[in-house]
């Protein structure tokens, strides 16, 4: 029997608000343990939470970007469980009246567009972190109380690759909104996955496995692939699957059971009496909507229209908001009629430089005006495309202006016909055979001759002019 994979993802996103969700402690990452804490986020007796309006604003922004419906009345609930990193032994979260529901994210996966439903997006607080020593364990509460957004997808994903693409697209949108660092390694983006298999063509859902402990997008994909194989194997062997939570071990590349359904916690959710029900007015929502930045899909569409580029090219340029802004500024600086050559340079040489340095486009140390200058040299045929690439590398390495590097390396193309003519005559004289085969109609021969001239000029000859000269000379002859 063939099986269809059904995946739903739960993403936890740390919001980069200035202060924590329910107190005024900073949310800085990487500070000395327990230096960003106060009686409130430590859950000291008698302290009370006060919700952070900035976090709520961020949450509304994200919800709107995923086309979710914002609930007019919403509230916070307590999720009760004991764990040493949870100061109050309950987490302030949202249960039956989440901030928003029923949204979607359109993803590109394997060249296809697919709409993935978003079940709900809600606000909650993060827990602290345990640090295990040899004989004792310690708790760092710096992270406790940092606002988290939980984004729950519908089980609309049908392969580990789709899950990966969903995450990439989601991260892309979040980055555009500038509400989170989205760094899985730093833990500012975390992802749990629910996966089940069902017979191809069936519409019911199979027994669900929850996967935890993945710390990269690739980890999510690998863990899911492992599970597809494991579950398919079990089903084909006629065995029953247990509803359970499994942990991904990235080093061993396997998942192992953490707890079964029977061992699952009863979180005893109930409305947090310290925080009253609050109403999000229509004006707040429409104001937030009007302030949403241009999102990746819209931006890509506009790039295609405005700069006449392909969907593929637009996709590359809009892969990050900062990269897109950088690209757009470069394009705008360049003369209207030659915009396409700037686009080609951005997705060509610049992107290769960025990739080689494991950086994003906007992180390259290059002055935009200097980039424009460099391209101008190419466009007016003062230097060759090849030389320009090497100039670009040097510009990024040294931060020096294009003109200086070109001059220093004596790279200006020889376009003076008089100077080139003697070289051309010499090459024609030396390659009688090739000249003849060109005359008999072999156009390839011309390329060889041009190449010889280029070699002689140490690459500085303008190949176009050389070609014209050769043609004229042979014609003349």
């Amino acid at each position: 029997m063939k099986y269809q994979t059904v995946i739903g993802l739960e993403v936890h996103l740390q919001l980069n608000t200035r202060t924590k969700a329910f107190c005024s402690c900073p949310t800085d990452f990487g500070r000395t343990p327990n230096s960003c804490v106060c009686p409130v986020c430590l859950g000291m007796p008698g302290t009370l939470p006060v919700y952070n309006k900035e976090a709520l604003g961020y949450a509304i922004k994200v919800a709107l970007a995923f086309s979710c419906k914002i609930q007019e009345r919403t509230k916070f609930d307590r999720k009760n469980y004991f764990y040493p990193d949870l100061p109050k032994n309950y987490q302030i979260s949202q249960y039956d009246l989440p901030l928003s529901r029923n949204g979607h994210l359109d993803i590109s996966s394997g060249g296809n567009e697919k709409r993935i439903g978003i079940t709900r997006i809600h606000l909650e607080e993060d827990a602290g972190k345990l640090i295990h020593g040899d004989k004792e364990s310690m708790v760092d509460f710096n992270r406790a109380g940092v606002p988290l957004l939980e984004i729950v997808s519908e089980p609309d994903l049908n392969s580990p690759q789709e899950a990966f693409d969903y995450l990439t697209n989601l991260k892309n949108v979040i980055e555009y909104l500038d509400v989170s660092d989205c760094d899985m390694e730093k833990g500012s983006l975390r992802c749990d996955a629910n996966i089940s298999l069902r017979p191809e063509g069936s519409s019911g859902l199979g027994v669900k496995t929850e996967l935890k402990n993945m710390n990269s997008f690739k980890g999510v994909k690998d863990a899911l692939s492992y599970e597809v194989a494991r579950q398919t194997g079990l089903l084909e062997a006629g065995e029953k699957l247990a509803q359970e939570t499994r942990l991904w071990d990235a080093e061993k590349g396997v998942t192992s059971s953490m707890r079964t359904k029977e061992e699952a916690n009863d979180y005893r959710y109930f409305p947090d009496p310290d925080l009253s029900v609050f109403v999000i007015g229509r004006e707040t929502v429409s104001l937030a909507a009007s302030r949403l930045p241009e999102l990746p899909k819209e931006k890509a569409g506009r790039f295609m229209r405005d700069y006449g580029i392909s969907a593929y090219e637009a996709g590359i340029l809009t892969a990050s908001r900062k990269g897109a802004d950088f690209s757009e500024e470069c394009i705008k600086l360049y003369p209207e009629k030659d915009k396409k050559s700037m686009v080609n340079w951005l997705i060509g040489p610049l992107l290769s430089e960025a990739n080689a340095r494991k950086r994003s486009l906007h992180e390259l140390k290059i002055d935009k005006d200097e980039l424009v200058n460099l391209l101008a040299f190419v466009d007016n045929q003062s230097i060759s495309h090849l030389s320009a690439k090497s100039v670009l590398t040097q510009m990024i390495d040294s931060g020096r202006p294009a003109s200086e590097i070109i001059k220093e390396n004596n790279m200006l193309q020889i376009s003076d016909a008089g100077e080139l003519e003697s070289m051309v005559c010499q090459i024609i004289a030396e390659n009688e055979k090739t000249v003849n085969s060109f005359k008999s109609g072999k156009t390839n021969a011309l390329m060889f001759l041009v190449g010889q001239v280029m070699k002689k000029s140490s690459g500085k000859a303008n190949p176009k002019i050389v070609g014209d000269l050769i043609r004229r000379k042979i014609g003349d002859a």
Binding site: L42, P45, G46, T47, N80, F82, P84, R268
Partner: protein, 479 residues
């Protein structure tokens, strides 16, 4: 008369006229504590230091002029033990003041260095559930002072304090005030900040004053009231000068007496005193009529579901990880279990179990959710009643103080002693208990006056009119 026997407003006058200094007051209080607290035990930590530190005589500044305020052990005070009379919080010295404490300090009051005894985490109606042992009723030390703010009420009644703060979740200010013959007010929910009050049931808890008379109650209520940005449930509603409600007449006020409260279970002597008090109010020109609160009978069960559910979650933080008591243990699970088993007393564990059960999967709808719905009905009963009445009067407690140990082994009986006070917390309305008589055995009886939300002024007006025309509040226990 010794300074400790005076009311706060009398002392404020004396302090302002320099007839007395704060030091005189302190000396009188400490002398009184030295004399009687071994019998009353309102202050469980008199052996501890703190007295010395406080002896740096303080001048008369601010409207409260350096007057000391006794504070219940569940209200956070910087540098003073705040242990909720529970072993699990032993050694907890908060690095912050509750908002009410900060307000009192900025009004010039001083926080009395010894905190008042209470039922552990305010779980109880007799102050027998304190890890330090019970407080006794100053009127007869074989009897309980009521609870959970029994230490605060006994201290004020025994002149071991000028006035005090308590907290009231289901009657914990009013019932001990009633048992000890003093004045106790539970303000409207949201009137006083809960920040720094160690939570029992967050949707019901409210800090309030326990005083020797109504005027002191009005002064202290005014000093602690007001919106607090650190408490999302506090309400931004102007705080009037409550002393302006004093001295007014009550002619023509419509006063209701809930018929559901005068039924089986109400002690005959209490009933008599309350009926006499009603007659007094009528003679002062008020118009008395029976009122119905049809859902009153559900108050106790609803309360014990909501209050214990919230408590089970509020008390989860006491786990031995961060502060307070930690039992020696082998593993994390072992530490949780031993710490909480040994750290909490019997009643605390009973309520945690009850509340955990009420919130559990499969029971939530039947218990917690249903209780919330009935709570709404109870609130509506009062809304309706206050459409026709300016205030409602009732007994504070169905009985006078009972003997120490009498109900200790029967939690249900103990729970029923809050039957007339609980509805007020569920509805979020304000209510006061004032002395209105004595039993043949010489135990005080309290009259409860309730008003609609944020109408503490009406309560002070009626209570003060009654007090002006009676002598009950002047009686003092012989100790």
């Amino acid at each position: 008369m010794e300074a400790n026997r005076l009311t706060a407003h009398e002392l404020l006058g004396a302090l302002k006229e320099k007839r007395l200094s704060p030091k005189d007051i302190d000396e009188a209080i400490y002398a009184r504590i030295g004399k009687i607290d071994s019998k009353v035990r309102a202050y469980p930590r008199t052996g501890n230091s703190g007295k010395e530190a406080d002896e740096k005589a303080v001048g008369c500044a601010g409207p409260l002029c350096g007057l000391p305020v006794t504070v219940k052990d569940n209200i956070c005070t910087t540098g003073l033990a705040t242990e909720c009379c529970s072993r699990i919080l032993s050694g907890f010295y908060p690095p912050y003041d509750a908002t009410v404490i900060a307000k009192l300090k900025s009004a010039g009051a001083r926080i009395f260095p010894w905190k008042a005894n209470m039922d552990e985490f305010a779980f109880g109606s007799s102050t027998e559930n304190s890890c330090f042992g019970p407080t006794c009723n100053p009127w007869n030390t074989a009897f309980v002072p009521g609870g959970s703010s029994g230490g605060s009420a006994a201290a004020v009644a025994g002149d071991e304090a000028i006035w005090a703060l308590g907290s009231d979740t289901g009657g914990s200010i009013r019932q001990p005030a009633s048992f000890c013959g003093v004045v106790g007010l539970k303000p409207t929910y949201g009137r006083v900040s809960r920040f720094g009050l160690v939570a029992f049931a967050s949707s019901l808890d409210q800090i309030g004053p326990i005083t020797k008379d109504v005027e002191d109650s009005a002064i202290l209520t005014g000093a602690i009231s007001g919106y607090d940005p650190n408490d999302s449930t506090s309400v931004d509603y102007p705080v009037p000068d409550y002393t302006k409600s004093l001295g007014m007449d009550i002619k023509g006020l419509r006063i209701g007496m809930p018929k559901e409260y005068f039924v089986e279970g109400l002690d005959e002597q209490v009933k008599l005193s309350v009926k006499e008090a009603a007659g007094k109010l009528e003679s002062l020109g008020a118009c008395l009529k029976e009122v119905s609160l049809p859902h009153a009978q559900y108050a106790v069960p609803v309360y014990y579901i909501i209050a214990t559910a919230e408590a089970s979650s509020n008390l989860a933080r006491f786990d031995g990880v961060k502060y307070g008591y930690r039992a020696p243990s082998e593993s994390l699970m072992d530490m949780y279990k031993k710490t909480r088993s040994k750290g909490f007393g019997e009643e605390a564990k009973r309520r945690i179990i009850l509340g955990t059960f009420a919130l559990s999967h499969g029971y939530y709808d039947a218990y917690y959710l249903r209780a919330l719905k009935v709570r709404t009905l109870i609130k509506k009963d009062f809304d309706t009643a206050f459409g026709d009445f300016d205030c409602i009067i009732a007994p504070t407690s169905p009985t006078p103080a009972f003997r120490i140990g009498e109900k200790a082994s029967d939690p249900l009986k103990m729970y029923l002693s809050d039957i007339y006070t609980i509805s007020v917390n569920l509805a979020g309305i304000p209510a006061i208990s004032i002395p209105c008589g004595f039993t043949r055995e010489g135990l005080p009886v309290g009259l409860q006056v309730m008003a609609k939300p944020f109408n503490e002024e009406m309560i002070f007006r009626v209570a003060h009119a009654f007090e002006r025309n009676t002598e009950w509040h002047k009686a003092r226990p012989q100790l």
